[in-house]
């Protein structure tokens, strides 16, 4: 090969090398750059990882907190529910107390009134009684020629005084509302007293039939309050009867209980109302005619005497009220 050709080849090769070297350098530089970038990314990644770890920890803490709050909420909910139940009970208690209060206030003013009226009537009754005794003594000392007529007149005078006195006495029973006063109460006498008071409302349309058991029904309790019970029940019976009807009173001893049944041939009570008649303030009477307290109070009074008050009724047939007292 010629020298020049060799030289030429050499130069070409050199040139080629130089070019390749250039390329290599370029590639190396690029690689270095990429490595740098990679390192950077790597650094960044590990930083992010750290960050994620922290965030994760934060999240976990938050989660725990939420669970705790949730639990607390749940507990509070239970407390609220309990308080709700308590509140409802208090509300009912309040309602009962209110009705008792209203009724006792009514009875208190009735008591004051009846005691006052009783006193004012008893004095003139005392005049008549005294005059009767005086006259009786007089006619004993100075017999009248019309002895029989005088005897009749005198006995009428006595009967009048005794009947009026009996009415005043039964009125007086209502002012006896001494809470602590526990005394023997004769149920039959109480029913009779209430009938005396209702007499003008019962006659002449309503016939009262009585089937009293032979032994006297006596329970320990509060006479005034028991009068309220039977007056309420009997006046309900009377009010239930439109026009002519009957009230049937039965007293009997069943096992270890005294049972009093008061039935009427009145309008009756619907099934849906039957469950509510002892609720305070429940009434089907027109405004001003009933407070809706009578049976609710009666129910509580019977309960205080360890008794039970039960109702059976059929529309247009009538109602039976059963009062059961354990024999003490």
């Amino acid at each position: 090969m010629e020298q020049s050709e060799l030289e030429k080849n050499h130069a070409l090769l050199k040139e080629k090398f130089a070019r390749h070297e250039q390329i290599l350098i370029q590639a190396y530089k690029s690689l270095k750059k990429k490595e740098l970038a990679l390192n950077l990314l790597n650094n960044e990644l590990s930083a992010s990882e750290e960050e994620i770890k922290i965030i994760n920890e934060g999240l976990q803490a938050a989660n725990e907190e939420i669970t705790a709050i949730n639990e607390e909420l749940h507990n509070k909910n239970i407390i609220i529910e309990e308080q709700n139940v308590e509140l409802r009970a208090t509300m009912q208690h309040l309602k009962d107390t209110q009705s008792t209060l209203l009724q006792s206030e009514k009875m208190a003013s009735l008591g004051i009134l009846t005691a006052g009226v009783a006193h004012e009537i008893n004095n003139p009754l005392n005049y008549i009684m005294g005059a009767y005794i005086g006259l009786q003594n007089y006619f004993e000392d100075y017999p009248s020629p019309e002895k029989e007529k005088v005897a009749v007149l005198l006995s009428i005078l006595l009967e009048g005084v005794e009947r009026a006195s009996k009415i005043v006495d039964s009125l007086n029973q209502f002012s006896r509302n001494n809470e602590a006063n526990i005394e023997p109460c004769n149920i039959t006498e109480i029913i009779e007293n209430c009938l005396v008071i209702l007499n003008n409302k019962i006659k002449p349309y309503i016939q009262v039939k009585k089937n009293y058991c032979n032994s006297p029904i006596v329970i320990e309790g509060n006479t005034g309050k028991l009068h309220q019970v039977f007056l309420n029940i009997l006046s309900n019976s009377q009010q239930a009867i439109e026009g002519y009807g009957e009230i049937h009173i039965v007293t009997k001893k069943i096992n270890s209980d005294w049972v009093v049944e008061i039935s009427d041939t009145g309008v009756g009570i619907s099934n849906e109302n039957l469950n509510r008649i002892t609720d305070p303030f429940f009434t089907t009477k027109p405004p001003g005619k009933g407070t809706g307290l009578g049976l609710s109070i009666s129910y509580n009074i019977v309960k205080e005497h360890n008794g039970v008050l039960k109702f059976k009724s059929e529309i247009a047939k009538g109602t039976t009220v059963q009062i059961v007292f354990p024999i003490s």
């Binding site: 009783a118 006193h119 004095n123 009754l125 008549i128 009684m129 005294g130 005794i133 001494n178």
Partner: protein
């Protein structure tokens, strides 16, 4: 026999006093007054009175107040209340602690009052 028993009756209503005198004078020596003040004076002048019956509701001094005052001076006498009221707590308390022996209701029951007077007089 019972004529010797002195009974004092106190009532502010003249009709009641008059009737009491007419009825009970047949058997007892009846003294009467229209107030507790009267009653105290009568007792001073008649210390041999054995039974005192008083109305409850009177102006100035109630029956129980009168009995309280009378009992201070004459503790051994027999005191009763005759009233148009049904038995009250005040009267019940007076019976329980022995201030009065019993209470009678108006209109009065002759037999009950007479037997009480006779029984009380026996104790004296």
């Amino acid at each position: 026999m019972t004529k010797g028993i002195k009974v004092l009756y106190i009532d502010d209503e003249p009709v009641n006093v008059q009737l009491f005198e007419i009825i009970f004078s047949r058997k007892y020596a009846v003294l009467s007054g229209s107030s507790g003040f009267d009653g105290l004076k009568i007792l001073e002048n008649n210390p041999d009175t054995s039974v005192i019956i008083s109305d409850m509701k009177m102006p100035g001094m109630s029956g129980i107040e009168f009995v309280l005052k009378a009992k201070e001076k004459f503790p051994d006498k027999n005191y009763y209340i005759l009233t148009g009221y049904d038995i009250t707590e005040e009267i019940q308390t007076a019976i329980n602690n022995g201030l009065i022996r019993n209470h009678f209701k108006k209109p009065f029951n002759l037999d009950k009052i007479e037997s009480s007077i006779n029984e009380a007089a026996r104790f004296n």
